[in-house]
Symmetry: C2
Subunit: 391 residues, 2 copies
């Protein structure tokens, strides 16, 4: 059995007003000139950005703004960021926003540390060798990028566009300021997408081959139960601190390695690959895409080991029937207004679209995906067909 690493060095500050620590924490991390990286402007409208920049100014920390990150963050903006960091001698990157902003910040960090093309890291041509340090003020509970080693970037300079992730210990950021109150204003839809993504980071790890550590399973069940309870509350009461706080911490722990600790492998991750093809090509929300394909994936792979589904059902729902376990998760997705098929994403997939997407996932039939069950292009095609109601 392989030796499993667990490495979560990110210094977390959690609770109301955590963002007020920003200048102090930047200073203790040796930051002198900061790139303040953000998205569409909601952090401007909410006043958060102004508050942060005032704190930096008061503390005598120089900064440069770079906004404009979009969901499924683009390599073109990353390149702009890298140029800024290099030109201006920036020594710290502060992401203010959600996982897309942070993933973009990580990419800028890798690229600015290095002389070559940043996309090389994402298409596996070269390994990340270092990074300009990164921290985050998080405004969305979803990707878990704040404690994970991963960053996902979309290459919008190519046709078709590619969405690729890279995982490296250099992606473990210096600090995460987690104030659940900053997520009160997140929309119903994005709250639900985030909750789905959080569940999936644990479900992907739960389904794997080989040795499973029971305590890790128990933590996974605790996490899944919490997300399901809290997501429903947060949709009803967007400013419920408990619900937002639980979702936020579940988001961080679902993707920092905890829910895969001690297990033989790092998990399945097929659904993420199957979904990435949808969000890269059709720009759907990642969480919604995951909800749309998970049930079909689960039914397709169920026979590999129904007992794994039974244990999950027992631990989360007190219901050990494997098929009912799948149905219960789909019920949850519907309860938070997530789609459970591709049509629900607003996409009308025919057989050709399924074939094209499957080939996209396997990079033109040159790789397989999955660990619980290894999937080739034909398997993935079948899952897309099932998720499209064609099989």
């Amino acid at each position: 059995m392989a030796i499993k690493e667990y490495y979560t060095p990110t210094h977390v500050y959690f609770g109301k007003g955590a963002e007020d620590k920003v200048a102090e924490v930047l200073k203790s991390n040796g930051a002198h000139k900061v790139l303040v990286h953000f998205g569409s402007g909601s952090v401007k409208r909410s006043g958060l950005l102004g508050k942060v920049e005032a704190a930096l100014t008061e503390a005598g920390i120089e900064f440069t703004e770079l906004g404009g990150v979009v969901p499924n963050p683009r390599v073109s903006l990353v390149r702009k960021g890298i140029a800024l960091v290099k030109e201006q001698g920036i020594d710290f990157i502060l992401a203010v926003g959600g996982g897309s902003v942070l993933d973009s910040a990580k990419a800028i960090g890798y690229g600015a540390y290095d002389g070559g093309d940043v996309w090389d890291f994402y298409c596996r041509k070269r390994k990340v060798e270092g990074t300009v340090p990164v921290g985050v003020i998080l405004t969305l509970s979803a990707t878990g990028s704040e404690m994970s080693d991963s960053s996902v970037i979309t290459n919008d300079e190519t046709d078709p566009v590619y969405k690729r992730g890279v995982s490296t210990d250099f992606g473990r950021i210096k600090f995460a300021l987690l104030d659940p109150e900053l997520t009160y204003s997140v929309s119903r839809y994005q709250t639900a997408c985030g909750a789905t993504d959080i569940c999936m980071h644990t479900l992907e790890r739960y389904f794997h081959q080989g040795y499973a550590l029971d305590f890790t399973d128990k933590i996974s069940f605790a996490l899944l139960k919490e997300v399901m309870e809290s997501a429903k509350v947060a949709l009803e009461h967007p400013d419920d601190y408990d619900a937002r706080a639980n979702l936020m911490w579940c988001g961080s722990l679902s993707h920092n390695g905890l829910t895969g600790a001690g297990n033989e492998t790092n998990g399945d991750w097929a659904c993420h690959q199957i979904e990435h093809e949808l969000s890269a090509e059709y720009d759907v929300a990642h969480g919604a895409g995951l909800a749309a394909v998970w049930g079909s994936w689960a039914r397709y792979v169920l026979d590999v080991d129904p007992s794994r589904f039974s244990k999950l059902g027992e631990g989360v729902f007190g219901e050990s029937d494997p098929v009912k376990t799948i149905e219960k998760f789909e019920e949850f997705f519907r309860a938070i207004e997530m789609p459970t098929d591709i049509k629900g994403l607003g996409l009308d997939f025919d057989e050709e679209a399924c074939r094209k997407a499957a080939l996209g996932v396997t990079f033109g039939n040159t790789r397989t995906i999955g660990d619980f069950k290894v999937l080739d292009t034909e398997d993935i095609f079948n899952i897309y067909m099932m998720a499209s109601g064609l099989k």
Copy 2:
């Protein structure tokens, strides 16, 4: 509400043969000359020490041995270690053993980094300002020192002897090599003591005033359930990998901050203080001492908030009656052959002994302890009396 920090930078390598990584990991941490610190010699007899030293020699890493750490580790040996580190220019301390060895290694690290008296840190005269880096090959699942920020040392140079702990981020060690197989040879008694200590690190955090994050409670319940299941299995089958692996990982996560994350305070910790007085003065095993006093503490503080006990009982035993919850934990302690009163420790306490111990805990009536309920000397006296069957 206070902002809560969560900081667990220790790089963990978990699984069979994790100790084989030692030379590689020492090198990646820049170690050139290592103090190999250990205890009574069981690591010599088992062959582990020889294996580790052979690996270091092969990798060209110099080392010096310092054995002789005892349970409730002594400041006198710490002073020897500090002198060795300074004289020989040692740049890394490798603990090979359990929590006592690691706590001693941490103390050596603090003292060797600093010019003054190491005991000053433990009696709160000065703050730890840095450390010689430390790593561990763990052979006992108990104290959680491998991921915690704390170190507990006994001053054997004074009369009466003092047992004091210090918590600092410098106590977060560089790496922990966790191989559950190394704990197969741990005795029934030490396995049970360790399991009790692990439970208590979570129970101490669970009982607190102010805001509680529900997800943290759920993780705590998962951990307590796992320890209880796995401890019983490990007593029956000492070489059961699953049981040993679950206990080991529970031990690390029970004291790294996870089971208190997002909560208003850092927990109660009264039982630890009440127990430390027993193990300092009478050298009883820490875990056994905790089991001996917990039930009395719980009955004494129950009225503060019975609902907290109900939630615990519901989460762990599916039983929400507060008194029955206390009884169920005591049943577990008895099932693993731990005492549930002071007599069970082999101590015959009278009223005077209770009074003396209570005054010891409050440093001669100069402090209070506890958070769920703040306890003064009289309260602690009452708890000792209850635990001695005198009240």
